[in-house]
């Protein structure tokens, strides 16, 4: 009977057996990546354009940092200084208004065209005229669509002149020129691809300066070229054979979009990817223990904070602001929730930047907080809401804060939301408490000083919407100080002003800065020379190789 049954299903059984055998013995299209290609898993869904005059996102910063060159670059050995990139040398005039750069000769773009001062001037011109998100970095020096041709021009084929409107601190100007927006694009190639545009009141020019084309293409001179980009899927960089410096060791670098930490970890352990960039603390810890995987970490210029909207009468009381700073369990958060991806840091300048301080005056102290609240007349606490993005570690940190607030009687209600949703609410000043992060726009203390300490106009329709403005915090004295620091040409004095500013904001500001981001990555042991830089556009890949 049974034999009959088995015989009847003979063919089916045989087929299954063969399939199973095939799967186990078939050549696994290997679990290792090619030797001349680096495969990086990251969340690349924030890339909206590859045009350096338009790009301002984290991922794009890394791509343009590897594919374009600038006049000067951050000195990775001492991040408070700059070093030459395309420029051989530079001078500042005595009145502090004119910067003259001498370009190295015989440099080429990836296309083979020579790099001249004309290309530099063109890059500045289009960035200012296109007026996209990062344009303010150049426009803040008094450049606009009408005067950029005069203020940023090539006096001859190897000399570029940059004129600013005030005698700013040279360190400030030079730091800004290391930003992505100051990348040099190949004028000849870009001009072949300009599209006509109809001038309007807001955009007075008759062409798009190649923006439509450069959004998805490449015209640079860095160690890599950007070969291919499929949004939210993959981005491929290839070695630039015409690079003027030491050629990149790898032939190709591929970024795969993998936003899920658990999935990245599995792929890293199996060897289908070489570098995993989005690992959460728990996954980081477990891959670090594997023999064939290493980890690396570098502090980045991003601080995580939560801020108290001064529109809320309870939060506007100075004792309440101080009490709240004592109601955060910094040690516990540092030891568990952000382990490996952050370091406790309480001032608004990230460490490594000119003027940063290491002061950590606040610790969890419920008794002191209760005392302060009683002084403010709120000894029974009060209710308040916090808009929380539904991502880790933000959600866990918010829950932790809810618990420590509760110990002093403050009832914190967490309102979960999506990234852009909470941001929209924040920008409209409709929040009580907002928890988020701020990445510095360029590697100079002014970027964070401006946003945390200046508020030029507290009304609803102002042009400048800094974080202080978003939290309705108005301190004219601090605004003046931050603006004065810009013009302080003595670097040591400038540093001191920023140190003072941070101390004042620590005492009376509505910001509770909790930690500085540490970017961590796991990578296969056969990858050599992989390092993360202090900024997102200094995660250089040209010295990376595989054994």
């Amino acid at each position: 009977m049974i034999a009959n049954r088995i015989a009847r299903h003979r063919r089916g059984l045989a087929a299954t057996a063969i399939l199973a055998a095939l799967l186990t013995t078939a050549p696994c299209s290997f679990a290792a990546t090619p030797a001349d290609t680096l495969v990086i898993a990251w969340a690349i869904d924030d890339i909206i354009s590859l045009d350096p005059g338009e790009a301002f996102e984290i991922t794009t910063g890394e791509i343009t940092g590897n594919t374009y060159s600038r006049l000067i670059a951050l000195d990775l050995d001492d991040t408070s200084k700059v070093k030459p990139d395309i420029a051989a040398s530079w001078t500042v005039s005595d009145d502090g208004l004119t910067y003259t750069f001498k370009i190295k000769s015989d440099l080429k773009f990836a296309s083979g065209n020579a790099i001249t001062a004309e290309d530099v001037a063109f890059s500045f011109e289009r960035a200012v005229k296109l007026n996209k998100s990062p344009a303010f970095i150049l426009q803040q020096f008094g450049l606009d669509g009408d005067n950029v041709a005069e203020k940023a021009k090539a006096t001859d084929s190897t000399t570029f002149q940059f004129v600013v409107d005030k005698p700013y601190a040279p360190s400030f100007v030079l730091n800004c020129l290391t930003a992505t927006v100051a990348s040099v694009v190949d004028k000849k190639v870009v001009m072949e691809h300009v599209a006509k545009a109809a001038p309007t009141a807001e955009y007075k020019f008759d062409n798009d300066f190649g923006n439509g084309w450069l959004k998805t293409r490449y015209a640079g001179s860095g160690p890599f070229t950007a070969r291919d980009w499929r949004a939210n899927e993959i981005l491929v960089m290839e070695r630039n054979p015409n690079y003027f410096g030491e050629k990149a060791k790898l032939a190709r670098v591929i970024y795969r979009h993998m936003p899920e930490s658990g999935a990245e970890r599995l792929a890293l352990e199996t060897g289908d990817i070489d570098v995993a960039r989005k690992l959460q603390p728990s996954d980081l810890v477990s891959v670090a223990s594997k023999a064939d995987i290493k980890t690396t970490a570098t502090p980045k210029g991003t601080v995580y904070y939560f801020s108290l909207n001064q529109k809320n009468p309870n939060l506007a009381k100075p004792e309440v602001r101080e009490a709240i700073k004592y109601l955060v369990d910094y040690d516990a958060i540092g030891a568990t929730l952000i382990k490996g991806i952050g370091e406790i840091h309480q001032s608004f300048l990230p460490s490594g930047m000119l003027g940063s301080i290491d002061a950590e005056p606040y610790k969890l102290d419920v008794a002191k907080a209760k005392e302060l609240l009683a002084k403010a007349g709120l000894k029974d606490g009060f209710s308040v809401t916090m808009d929380v993005r539904s991502v880790q570690p933000v959600t866990s940190i918010a829950e932790n804060i809810q618990q420590t607030f509760g110990q002093a009687g403050i009832k914190l209600e967490l309102i979960p939301g999506d990234g852009k949703q909470t941001l929209t609410k924040y920008r409209a000043r409709n929040h009580d408490i907002y928890i988020g992060e701020w990445g510095t726009d360029y590697w100079d203390p002014h970027s964070n000083a401006e946003t945390f300490a200046t508020n030029v106009d507290n009304s609803d329709n102002t042009k400048s919407k800094t974080l202080s403005w978003r939290n309705t915090w108005d301190r004219p004295a601090l605004t003046k100080e931050a603006q004065a620091a810009l013009l302080e040409r003595d670097t040591t004095k400038r540093k001191e002003i920023y140190e003072g500013l941070q101390k004042k904001v620590l005492e009376e500001g509505p910001f509770v800065v909790m930690y500085q981001q540490v970017e961590a990555a796991g990578y296969r042991a056969n990858v050599q020379g992989y390092k993360l830089g202090p900024t997102f556009d200094s995660n250089y890949l040209d010295t990376v190789s595989k054994k």
């Binding site: 799967l23 186990t24 078939a26 696994c28 299209s29 679990a31 990546t33 090619p34 290609t37 495969v39 898993a41 869904d45 909206i48 354009s49 301002f56 996102e57 007026n131 996209k132 998100s133 990062p134 344009a135 303010f136 807001e202 955009y203 959004k215 998805t216 499929r230 949004a231 939210n232 899927e233 993959i234 491929v236 591929i254 795969r256 979009h257 993998m258 936003p259 899920e260 658990g262 999935a263 599995l266 792929a267 352990e269 199996t270 289908d272 990817i273 999506d418 990234g419 852009k420 949703q421 941001l423 929209t424 609410k425 920008r427 726009d441 102002t462 042009k463 400048s464 919407k465």
Partner: protein, 352 residues
């Protein structure tokens, strides 16, 4: 019948047909318009600023104001909607803010990925689910029936992202039976040229067998997971339909006539249960075609589910509406197809 009567008969039949066609077209148009209107207004009402996706968080107020006007966000809602519908009727589905490509191009890129996944998943679900359902119905009440129902219950209740990670740990990390992530290994990135976007068919067409094997190894796990999800539903429905059929009198008659078990179950009962079953399978297929965001995220599968979700989170309404139209079209087409299959499988519906 006189020639006049015949002519009038066929004339009436023709009129009947064009009336039905007109009715169908009206229904389809209303469905599309309704779909677009609802999605459009939801999109404009959600508390996300679409300009954020274009310019990011750091743009100056002047740039924000300029982009608002460029995107037409300052016009009244109904005017924005009518502009959009007019553009769609002329074939312009707009440009996606996030990918900077025309929405049509994006959909042509991401939809085939989901179609592939959904098709293989439904095939797995149907090919395993139907026999399982039949087995459970035939052996009703026995241990086999219980096992099948538990398998179905697990598939239905477990969160798919958890099952996906578990499956990855077992079949990928430990056993190395399947490949991950994405649709294709990076090695083949420049040696394989997609034609239709349905990579499996493209590889067969171009006779690239190594690529085909790699594609199969990539698709088998996510498709099996989705298949498991479908299987849970399909096997339960099959069981129900089969039980219904097996209760009928013609089964007793067939047995009395001496037909074998196998013939009764497969050639007769299942044939009759196939009619409602086809609708179930078509609906299940349509469900998968909407794009299973969680599966696509974990497997880095560049499909339409993550495309629409990402666009929605950034209030990129051109992309969301384009995707909605694509999926709506597929739903309507599948409904039509299952209606036609109905008429083919059940001769009773043909008699009009």
């Amino acid at each position: 019948m006189t020639p006049m009567a015949t002519a009038r008969r066929s004339g009436i039949a023709a009129a009947g047909f064009s009336a039905r066609l007109a009715g169908f077209l009206v229904a389809v148009t209303t469905t599309y318009l309704g779909l677009l209107a609802v999605t459009f207004f939801i999109g404009r009402v959600i508390p996300i600023d679409p300009v954020l996706a274009v310019l990011g968080d750091r743009a100056p107020a002047s740039a924000i104001a300029r982009v608002r006007i460029e995107m037409g966000l300052d016009l009244p809602l109904w005017q924005q909607f009518s502009i959009y519908v007019q553009k769609v009727l002329s074939g312009d589905f707009g440009t996606s803010v996030l990918t900077t490509h025309p929405v049509l191009e994006d959909i042509a890129r991401v939809f085939p990925a989901t179609i592939e996944l959904a098709t293989v998943g439904t095939a797995v679900g149907a090919l395993i689910g139907v026999p399982l359902g039949v087995l459970a119905a035939v052996r009703r009440g026995s241990i086999v029936d219980q096992i099948v129902r538990v398998i179905g219950l697990v598939g239905y209740s477990m969160p798919i992202f958890w099952m996906a990670l578990l499956a990855l740990v077992v079949f990928y990390a430990r056993l190395h039976w399947v490949a991950f992530p994405g649709r294709l290994d990076v090695v083949y990135e420049y040696t394989f040229t997609p034609i239709s976007g349905l990579f499996l068919l493209d590889a067969i067409w171009q006779r690239q067998w190594e690529v085909l094997w790699d594609l199969v190894r990539h698709i088998i796990l996510p498709a099996s997971l989705l298949g498991y999800l479908s299987l849970a539903y399909i096997s339960r429905m099959t069981r129900g339909f089969m039980l219904n059929e097996l209760r009928q009198e013609y089964i007793v008659a067939a047995r009395a006539k001496g037909l074998s078990d196998a013939r009764i179950i497969w050639a007769h009962a299942l044939r009759n249960a196939a009619v409602p079953l086809v609708t179930v399978i078509a609906l299940s297929y349509a469900n998968l075609l909407e794009g299973s965001v969680l599966t696509e995220t974990i497997f880095s599968w560049p499909g339409i589910g993550s495309y629409i979700t990402n666009s929605l989170q950034n209030a990129d309404m051109n992309a969301v509406l384009g995707g909605t139209i694509a999926i709506g079209t597929v739903f309507i087409a599948l409904n039509l197809l299952s209606d036609l299959l109905y008429r083919f499988l059940d001769p009773r519906t043909k008699a009009r």
